[in-house]
């Protein structure tokens, strides 16, 4: 079966072969404004981290917003996403309330997981967002199982599963994609190839140029797209999601992109050349979209300012909510182990019972 290996942004932005219409101006603006809000959100989180206002680490996707937004924006509530440590903002794009997300950052009792997972590992059951483990690629395999269930239930919900290029080296990644191919599951695998897995360059992860090539081993389409071109990503993702919804099986989409900062907030990223970073910052997906919108007379600096000015108060409120929210009670460490309660057993098991 034919496998497409490269899709150019231009081509992607044009009416697509499945005859779907051009993207509306409203949608183009929504893609842009959502990227801006994600950027503001993560840059703020990074400041909060530097101010040591929350404990734990954070993994910013700054520079990768086009990928996150273009793939996630039009999903339904019933669709599932399987984020990795890098995809905190995918929660926002899918509609998770900021109060819940900031509570996650602050590990408060008001967070979706009641303060158990690390700040960036955010899930949200009401919107079918799988709470990620840190185990790289594990979310793909669980997401693949959700896709299996959707297929068995004969509904048309899809799963969008995220991973980085480093993740492709793991056996988990292979078992998931191979199974999805055999079962022709309604799932889209988004591989954000940002060139680095912590300090390890993609050249040490795989011998292939394009991660999308790997789809050929699984018998479904693999597409490489400019991950900093939100229109291209959106178009390619929509096609893949459509194919999945209509029973056409899985797609692997490689988004070539870049993380502007270190692997996490404690990583100075000395292993990268400053030139490389500059080169990629020049490819800022937000600036690129501004140029694109300007060409269509859809962008003005005021418009951008307005987006930011509307978003910041919401963000301030959420931060305030999270900072005022209570931490979990210590004893809650004993909860949610099983469907039944174990507090009693745990609290008394160490005690010696002279009754014997």
């Amino acid at each position: 079966m034919a496998t497409k290996v490269r899709e150019q942004a231009a081509e992607a932005a044009a009416p697509s072969k499945n005859g779907s219409s051009l993207i509306s101006d409203e949608k183009l603006k929504q893609l842009y404004s959502t990227m801006v809000k994600c950027r503001v959100l993560e840059e703020r989180i990074r400041i909060l981290k530097k101010q040591a206002r929350f404990k734990g680490n954070y993994y910013a996707a700054v520079g990768q917003e086009a990928t996150e937004v273009g793939t996630t924006i039009d999903l339904r509530d019933e669709d599932t996403i399987a984020p990795s440590h890098r995809d905190f903002i995918a929660n926002y794009i899918k509609g998770v309330p900021l109060n819940a997300m900031l509570s996650q950052i602050y590990m408060r009792s008001t967070s979706p997981d009641k303060g158990r997972s690390s700040p960036a590992h955010c899930g949200y059951a009401p919107l079918n967002i799988i709470t990620p483990a840190s185990t790289i690629a594990a979310q793909l395999n669980i997401g693949t199982g959700v896709a299996l269930a959707n297929k068995m239930k004969k509904n048309d919900n899809v799963v969008v599963a995220f991973s980085g290029e480093g993740s492709t080296s793991l056996g988990f990644w292979h078992e998931a994609l191979n199974f999805a191919g055999v079962q022709q599951l309604p799932i889209v695998y988004i591989c954000q190839n940002n060139l680095w897995a912590e300090s390890v360059n993609v050249k040490l992860q795989t011998r292939v140029e394009d991660i999308s090539t790997k789809a050929q081993g699984y018998g479904f389409p693999g597409i490489t797209v400019d991950g900093n071109d939100v229109v291209a990503v959106y178009r390619v993702a929509q096609e893949a999601i459509q194919r999945a919804r209509s029973g056409g099986g899985p797609t692997l989409i490689e988004c070539k992109t870049y993380r502007w900062y270190g692997h996490s907030e404690i990583d100075p990223a000395k292993y990268r050349q400053p030139e490389e970073v500059e080169e990629w910052k020049a490819k800022d997906p937000i600036a690129a979209m501004e140029r694109y919108l300007t060409g269509k007379r859809l962008f003005t600096p005021e418009y951008k300012q307005q987006i930011i000015d509307e978003f910041n108060p919401q963000l301030d409120a959420a931060i305030d909510f999270a900072e005022k929210a209570p931490l979990p009670e210590p004893i809650e460490a004993l909860d949610h182990v099983y469907s039944f309660d174990i507090r009693d057993r745990e609290l008394h098991r160490t005690a010696y019972h002279p009754k014997y």
Partner: protein, 330 residues
């Protein structure tokens, strides 16, 4: 009419699949062939390839796809053909299934029932005889059961499928067709069995043997022999559940008999017997009139294939009787 342990498993699967169409089976050779040992015999014909899925040769995705399907509301019953080959699913079981409810603050769960064929003494050799229950008995978040009787084989499997937690169900391959344990079983809900308590399989007052799985048969033979020889009476506790452990039943038995022997097929170090011994030494110290002995396999990597090596390895009636005498005559 009396049925075998493996037929009880097949019956449980069939009844639960008829009862709830969310229940499905996935694993290697579970479909067309009906399982390496026949546990899923006839189910592929009856329920079709959609609900009895012959998976690719990949234990990791067998379990992790089940986790995802369970999150989405289905009731998967995946199978691991041999416990020896469960390692590719180690992350799915210990890092995903065991921790999903906990890491999501109770908002996401994965009620899967993983059937695992385990156990030695059949000449299967290094890689078709392993137990490996310790890896999972050590993991809170997982329920681990190991039925030793036909009634439990059926009733605990049915209960596991209805339980809102990930359950690992260890079935001993040497029990599959053992004639001596064949028995009648009930139908439907009447067949359900408890998932949390030990069972006293034999009442006694002079010493307690705690064991599970195929070793229950060995324990019973040893008890008979020694009661006949020394006129003592031995209580036998069938663990049934390896995680979370039912400490109370064990402690009460020891409080009554004052002597404890743990019999396990697993090798000695960090087998389930270590935990039972530790619980009793911690909580029923005053009741003990003798050291707590463990009859277990020696600490070697696995069960060798050659007959003399395998029989040297396996715990048996003779070793059990000898250990019993040591604590009784202490």
């Amino acid at each position: 009419m009396a049925i075998s342990y493996i037929d009880a498993i097949q019956q449980a699967l069939r009844e639960e699949m008829l009862r709830d169409d969310k229940v499905f089976i996935i694993g290697e050779d579970v479909g067309v062939m009906g399982g390496a040992f026949g546990a899923t015999k006839g189910l592929h014909e009856e329920f079709g390839a959609e609900r009895v899925i012959d998976s690719p040769l990949a234990e990791g995705i067998i379990v992790s796809a089940s986790i995802g399907a369970a999150m989405a509301g289905l009731r998967p019953v995946p199978e691991i053909q041999f416990s020896d080959f469960i390692t590719p699913a180690m992350d799915a079981l210990t890092q995903q299934a065991a921790k999903l409810r906990y890491r999501s603050g109770g908002s996401q769960t994965c009620p899967i029932t993983l059937r695992v064929c385990y156990g030695g003494g059949t000449g299967g050799g290094l890689y078709h005889s392993q137990t490996n229950t310790t890896w999972f008995a050590h993991e809170p978040g997982l329920i681990v059961v190991a039925p030793a009787t036909v009634a439990d084989a059926k009733g605990m499997l049915k209960a596991a499928i209805r339980q809102d937690d990930p359950v690992m169900y260890f079935e001993h391959k040497k029990l599959y067709r053992t004639p001596s344990i064949k028995s009648d079983v009930e139908e439907g809900d009447a067949a359900l069995r408890d998932l949390f308590k030990c069972a006293i399989r034999r009442e006694g007052k002079d010493a307690t043997i705690v064991t599970y799985g195929y070793m229950l048969i060995v324990a019973q033979q040893a008890a008979e022999q020694i009661e006949h020889e020394l006129g003592v009476s031995i209580e036998i506790v069938d663990l049934r559940v390896l995680n979370p452990l039912d400490s109370e039943t064990i402690l009460e038995s020891v409080a009554k008999t004052h002597r404890l022997l743990v019999l396990q097929e697993d090798h000695r170090t960090l087998g389930i017997g270590s935990e039972i011994s530790a619980i009793v030494a911690e909580r029923a110290f005053d009741c003990l009139d003798a050291p707590i002995l463990r009859v277990a396999a020696p600490d070697v990597p696995a069960i060798p294939a050659s007959e003399p090596l395998e029989s040297f390895y396996m715990p048996n009636v003779e070793k059990t009787v000898e250990a019993l005498k040591r604590i009784l005559q202490y």
